[in-house]
């Protein structure tokens, strides 16, 4: 039997939306360090400390996600019960933060894991569910917390370790977007679902290098599937590659015949100042989530950016596979967000 492509599918990996879903509102909550960064004023809320009055960092993280979802909805005068579906993910085992936030929100819920690419993943799936006519209004969200990630993936937080210059700082932050079939705001016009790409990188303190090939591959496929000129987008922004990963992706893009500068940047590079001691930059689900739901969508709304390609990037490693000597697979999903 010959499988024919879906009618909304274009090229090998890309979908184009017939009725582009609308980002009607969004919200971002960040940790103290992100608040001190260059975009500190662009976020809805900056937490004063990492516990925010909770008994553990895990509790603080799921509360942060819950509040970001509620805040995004409240901007449209909506409550959690008005959303038909919540699509959310985080970095913790068993998606602990998203599950517990969904427990409080009582919204029908699908948990997603795409490591740090989760924000893009939730937007893509949400957009497809809306364009497919299954829902009218849903929330796509993602979050990460520096210390919950640190203790799960790396070292106890009080252990003395010397960070390598290629290491990245897991962002503390949650971003939520209300996606609707009708309304006004920026639209999701197309999306490219990435392949898992692994070029044998094993250093867990150099995630950018592990993810860069996936990012470059997805960008290449997106541009090729849609037959766009390489300068179609005002800005292509990857999720959390950091300085090294961004430089590598730039090189790989040139190899693919694309011109990165000045249209290409990375949320992990943008989120912090160099002096903040984050080495190669930011990472984590929250990194691209808050950059999108903070400064980037604001710039789209104000007309500074018309066409944005958000490329969420994820390093699909686990401590178990790393101990077993496995390399780190990367993934990247691209979401095209356009105004008007």
């Amino acid at each position: 039997m010959v499988v024919t492509a879906g009618e909304k599918k274009k090229g090998l990996q890309t979908v184009v939306f017939t009725n582009p879903p609308i980002l009607t509102s969004w919200a971002s909550i960040v940790g103290p360090k992100e608040g001190e960064g260059p975009w500190g004023n662009s976020f809805d809320r900056v937490l004063s400390d990492y516990l925010t009055g909770e008994a553990s960092w895990e509790k603080a993280e799921n509360k942060m996600l819950q509040e970001a979802v509620e805040l995004a909805l409240s901007k449209n005068n909506l409550l959690a019960k008005d959303a038909e579906l919540l699509l959310a993910g985080d970095l913790l085992n068993q998606l602990a933060s998203s599950n517990f936030a969904a427990r409080q929100l009582k919204t029908p819920f699908l948990g997603l894991y795409g490591a740090c690419s989760t924000m893009a993943e939730s937007l893509i799936i949400g957009a497809m569910l809306l364009d497919g006519g299954f829902f009218r209004r849903l929330v796509a969200a993602a979050c990460s917390h520096h210390y919950t990630a640190e203790r799960q993936f790396r070292f106890p937080t009080e252990q003395g370790v010397q960070p390598s210059p290629s290491s990245q700082w897991t962002a503390t932050g949650a971003g939520a977007v209300v996606l609707e079939a009708q309304g006004s705001g920026p639209r999701i016009t197309a999306a490219t679902i990435g392949k898992v790409v692994d070029l044998g990188q094993t250093d867990s303190s150099n995630m950018g290098s592990a993810m860069a090939p996936a990012a470059a591959d997805t960008i290449k496929m997106h541009i090729a599937d849609l037959n766009y000129p390489s300068d179609y987008y005002d800005l292509i922004v990857t999720g959390d590659l950091g300085i090294i990963g961004m430089a590598l992706t730039g090189q790989l893009m040139v190899k693919d015949g694309l011109v990165p500068a000045p249209y290409y940047s990375d949320c992990g590079v943008l989120l912090y100042d160099e002096q903040q001691g984050v080495n190669a930059g930011g990472s984590g689900c929250g990194c691209s989530a808050v950059m999108l739901c903070g400064p980037l969508l604001a710039k789209i709304q104000s007309g500074e950016i018309n066409k944005l390609l958000l490329v969420g990037t994820g390093a699909l490693m686990s401590p178990t596979t790393s101990f077993q000597g496995e390399s780190i697979p990367g993934i990247a999903h691209a979401v095209a967000i356009e105004m008007g």
């Binding site: 106890p156 937080t157 009080e158 252990q159 003395g160 370790v161 010397q162 990188q201 430089a247």
Partner: protein, 153 residues
Amino acid sequence: MVDEKKLNEIEIQEYSSLVQRVNPKPQVFKHSVWAFVAGGLICVLGQIINNSLILQGMSNGDASASTAVILIFLAALLTGLGYYDELAKYAGAGTIVPITGFANAIVASALEFKREGYIFGVGARIFAVAGPTLVFGFAVSTLIGLIRVFVAS
């Protein structure tokens, strides 16, 4: 016919060399100076404690053991107060190699899992780093002892 496995290997090799070119090197000289000075000073502190204990009339062996206990106490305190990891960002091996680094690894692991309870949180995780260290210490030294026993007999 294109050998896909071979192609993939070439791609991996090419990419690895690209990563190596882009990847920043650690500041070996700066790190080394920090490690040398910090590690040296911790040892000097140990020597001062050791000397004063001997002056108080302690035997060499007891003074040495007491010095270790005092240094471990200080490292535990600094870890609890949240200073040891900040120092280690700069001092690197200078704070990891001395017995204070061993104490820090033990305390940090224990402290981190406090919120998971005092038995299977603190109690179990306290050995996350210390466990492997002690296992290898005992394995190697016992093996040396066994060799001595059998060589002697």
